[in-house]
Every structure is written in C-alpha cells, then in structure tokens.
C-alpha cells in the first residue's frame, strides 16, 4: 500500500513541531566566536606572537623566574625574621645597644652546649641563649624581665637528646612543677614524645597537663615554656608550637624553592649562552632601530618629493616664455632653420623615391594581373571549346590531385588530361609532376 498524501503531510507536521537540535545559545556562541576570528582577533594575536622568537621567550621566562626567586628570597628572609619571635628581636636590639658576652660556663651536662648571654640595658637583665656547637639552636633559655617575670622557653626538636630532656626535667622541678617524659628515639633522633606536666597550685589544687604522642617529624619546634615569679616558681606553663604556623609557612616557601630547582635553572641559564643571546637581542634592537629609521626616511622622502614638486611648480610659474625666446641667439636660430630646411628637402627626396618605387611595383603587379587574366581567359576558352564547361561566365572550379583533373566535379577525359596538365603548368606555373599535388582554381566572373 502506498503512502497517502495525508500521511506524508502528517510526517511534515511532525518535523515542523520537532525541537531544534542546535539551540540558539549554542549557535550564538559559535557565531560570536567566528565573527571574532574573522575580524582578525585570533590572527592578530598569532601575528603578534610571531614577533617573539623562541630564544626571546626563554630569556623572558628566565628573567621572570629570577624575579620570582628573588621575591621569594626576600619573602623568606622577612618570614624567617618574623618567625624568630621576640627573642630574635631582642637580640637584634641588644646587638645595637649592648655587647654579647660569650660564656663558656656549662649549664647542661652536654659539653658541647654553649651559652650566649646577651646583656640588655641597665634596667633589664640579661637574656641567655643556649645552643649546641655546630647545630641549630635546640634549646633556648631566656631570662627576661620585661613584665617582672622571667620567661623560660625550651625547644624540643629531633636533635634533643635524653640529656636535654633530663635538663628540662630538672629546670621544671626547680620551677616547682613535675615534668615526666617518654621519648622514642630512632637512630639518635627524637621521633616521638609523651609529656606529662603536673603542677600543684597555691590552693593545693593539682593541675595535670598530658600531651601524648608528639610527632617531632611534624613538629620540629615543639616548645615547653613557663614564666616564673621572683621566687623562681612557675606561674604559668604552656606547651605547643607557638611558631608552628610561621614555620609551616617557611617550609612551604622552602618547598617552593626546591620545586623551582634553582640549580637546574641556573645551569639552564648558563647553557643559554647569555652573551650570544644578549648579542642577538642587541642585533634585534638595531634592526628595529634601522626599520624605524627607514620608516622615517620614507616619510622624509615623501615630504621631500612633495617639496620638490612644489618647487618645480613654482619654477614653472616663474617661467617667462617671452624672455626665454629673446634669450635665444639669432645666429643659432638661423642655423636651426637651415638645418630644418635641409631635413625637409631630404624628406621630399625620399618621398619622391618611394613614390616611384611604388609606381613600378604597381606596374609590375598590373602586368602580372593582366597575365593572370589572360591565362584564365585562355583556360576558360579551352574548357569551353572542349565542352567541359557550358558557360565560361559561370563559376568554374578546377582541381588537380592524385593524377586526376576535375572540372566542376567531373573528371576530364584521359585523352585531354595531358593537354590540361601542360596548360596548368604553363598558365599557373604549377609543377604537375609533384607528388601529393593538391591544386585548385576557382574562377568567378565579376
């Protein structure tokens, strides 16, 4: 059964109601992108990019990297200074004002421990920093009298030894509280630490601080600190990482620095042959300068051209034809006239000669034409007399090829062939013995 018209209409109806596959928004986006591209956006950007060579990009990137590293170093220095706490600040201040007394007095049992006592001004007591030779500071004891109390700070790092911890315990006992510890060492490194601090307050209340499982890998600067009153009794005890955040910041910066791989960067920059690149840049600069100079030159030339034109116009305007004519020498004018007259005479002679030559040619041509005319007449007469044509006033066509001679499409009898071969040879100067001869003569009466 064939599909009916109404069924076909229904199909069209369905298609008319169909939702579009490509939305307006999608089409709009594509169209806008295409208009931007066709307007030269992308191409313009591309052509701009072409201006930069690969090496120039490397230089730019290297310079940028160096700038970034520099910025980071500055940030790092600032951050480190900041992270060193008030102790460092005081140290700096004291450096300005006071002498630093090196003391060889051994406070701890560790023989390698050294103490630096920094004397502040008269109103303030000294600050004592305890370090270990050849290592970063691992313990710092500070005696400060800024608010009428002494302040003690002990840093516990992976470098902290069993002896250091014992010393800390002793200091704590001296301050009137109990400090217990359970260290975990791996290859002489303090990895983990459990701390318990018990303080008996004046009212006899027992304060218990327990810190379990301090990870010294994570907390590289764990601190136990307290203040003491004039009697040397701890007034407040604190544990934790006061500088943890700052330290963490510092680490991040360090990691970032590591990720930059400065050494590699420097090596790469060295490989770049900076001298060569600088020379290339200089050359580029010079070329650019030259181009700019050319542009100026062209402009100048244009200006000069215009000026020249203006000058010429001015000169023309200034010309006085009469004066110029007067300025001509009379003698020269006579000479010129004679020369011209002579040239004219020569031309006339040449003209006469040519006219005569032309007349001669015409005569010859006429003779030839007459001759041809007579020849044609003779041929027509012969053809008529032999009964090959009926009326010599009518159009006559004669052909000769492949040994045949035809007149108006009819071959002439064999007995007459020789006669007409001779006539054609004689009247039309045609070689009838020529191979592949194709000759044709048509005579139309005027």
């Amino acid at each position: 059964m064939n599909l009916s018209n109404s069924e076909l209409d229904q199909l069209f109806e369905n298609v008319r109601k169909e939702k579009p596959v490509a939305t307006f928004e999608e089409t709009q986006r594509t169209f806008i992108a295409a208009t931007i591209a066709s307007a030269g956006g992308v191409l313009a950007t591309k052509s701009l990019l072409k201006l930069f060579t690969f090496k120039q990009w490397i230089i730019m990137i290297s310079v940028l990297s160096a700038a970034t590293v520099g910025t980071l170093l500055v940030t790092l220095t600032a951050s480190t200074e900041k992270a060193s706490s008030s102790l460092s600040e005081n140290e700096v201040n004291s450096n300005n004002k006071k002498e630093i007394i090196q003391s060889d007095a051994v406070i701890a049992e560790n023989a390698a421990e050294r103490t630096a006592i920094i004397k502040l001004d008269e109103a303030h007591p000294e600050m004592q920093i305890v370090t270990q030779k050849g290592k970063p500071p691992i313990m710092v004891r500070a005696y400060l009298l800024d608010d009428g109390t002494y302040h003690f700070e002990y840093f516990i790092t992976q470098e902290t030894s069993e002896e250091d911890l014992k010393k800390l315990q002793a200091e704590a006992k001296a301050a009137g509280f109990e400090l217990k510890y359970e260290p975990t060492f791996e290859s002489d490194k303090l990895m983990r630490l459990n701390l318990q601090i018990v303080q008996i307050k004046e009212n006899g209340q027992r304060q218990n601080i327990q810190i379990s499982d301090i990870d010294l890998k994570e907390s590289s600067n764990y601190k136990v600190a307290w203040n003491v009153d004039d009697n040397g009794t701890a007034t407040s005890i604190a544990c934790g990482e006061e500088f943890r955040l700052k330290e963490a910041d510092q680490r991040e910066i360090e990691e970032l620095m590591e990720s930059l791989r400065m050494e590699e960067l420097v090596a790469e920059m060295e490989q770049l042959e900076m001298d060569e690149l600088t020379a290339e840049l200089k050359q580029l600069q010079e070329e650019l300068g030259e181009e700019l100079a050319h542009i100026d030159l062209a402009r100048e030339m244009q200006i000069a051209g215009l000026e020249e034109l203006a000058e010429v116009e001015e000169l023309v305007a200034q010309l006085r034809v009469e004066e110029i004519m007067e300025s001509f020498d009379e003698e020269a004018m006579v000479e010129m006239r004679e020369g011209m007259e002579e040239a004219f005479a020569e031309m006339e002679r040449e003209q006469e000669k040519m006219r005569k030559e032309f007349e001669n040619m015409c005569e010859q041509h006429k003779g030839h034409a007459d001759c041809c005319q007579k020849g044609h007449e003779k041929m027509l007469n012969e053809l008529e007399s032999d009964g090959l044509i009926n009326d010599k006033a009518k159009r006559t066509k004669m052909t000769a090829s492949r040994g045949k001679i035809e007149v108006n499409g009819k071959e002439i009898p064999k007995d007459l062939r020789r006669k007409y071969e001779q006539l054609i040879e004689e009247l039309f100067e045609v070689d009838m013995k020529q191979k592949d001869l194709k000759w044709q003569w048509v005579h139309v009466c005027d």
Binding site: M1, L8, L11, N14, P20, V21, T27
Partner: protein, 176 residues
Amino acid sequence: MRKKQKEFLALYEPIHDDFERFCRARVYGDMDFRDLMNETLLKAFEKFEELRAKEAFLSYLLSISVRILANNNRKRKEESDSFEVVAIKAHDVNAKTDNKADSYFLHQALAQLPDEQRESIILFEISGFSIKEIAAIQNATESSVKQRLRRGRMRLREILTFEAKNSGSTVKSEVS
C-alpha cells in the same frame, strides 16, 4: 561591531528554530548542518547593512544558504566528476522512538531527492514559505517550483513506501 552583532542576533533569535530545521533537513547526510548555519550567519552578518526588509530576515538567510550550497555542490561536482560513488547506508530503526523515526525517515527520504527539489519541498512543507517566496529564494520561476513540489512529493511517497515495506531490516543502497 558589538551593536551590529546585537542587532543581528536579536533579529535572528525568533527565527532560529525555522532556520535550524531548514539547514538540518537540507544537508542531512551531506554535512554538519551547524557548519551551514554558521557559514550562512557569517555571510549574512557581513552583508547585514544591505538587508532592506528586516521582516524578511529568514528568507534572506535561506537565500544565502541556498547560494552557499549551490556553490559547494558545483565545486564538489567539479572535483568528483570522473567517478561514481556508491554509498551503502545501514541504520537501526529500533533505536529511535516513533516520532524520531518518522523524522529520521523523512530526512533520509529528502536526502535522496535532487537538491533543488529537496529545497523546494523543505521550504514549502517544513519552513512554510509560499511558492512565490520559494521562487525568489531559489531564483526560479513559480511554475518550476510547482513542478519541483509535485515531483518531489511523488518521489517522497515512493521512497517512504519502500522504506516502510523494508523497515524491518532497513539496509538500502544508493548511488549519488
């Protein structure tokens, strides 16, 4: 530029659906209709200043599409004049819902009509243009448009009848 673009898109938005349907039906199986749409829009945008009657924007776009396709076909014909291409298309009818299958078959059938016939049919039956308007778009006489419509419909009925009979295992070959 942005003002012109805004004006252009404002004019285009209401006719988008019709234009999309025409392009989709017209180049079904030949090329991505989105390319045709975009090329047409770009051409139209280039010569937007020349548009006299804004209400005839759809026919303006369609005329451009028709010209683009005619040029493309001429070029393609010149390139592939020396050989004949035999394409075998197989499709899974069961994967379509009823309406989509209808649309699919109709588009397939339209794709088998000669270009001008197909265009006339789409413009008349789907886009809803009058014969006079189609004649103007196609740069043809009204009688030739009428003839295209009559023959086109006849051919479509033949094709779709054949498709319906074979819809169980729709594998057909065509010579283009």
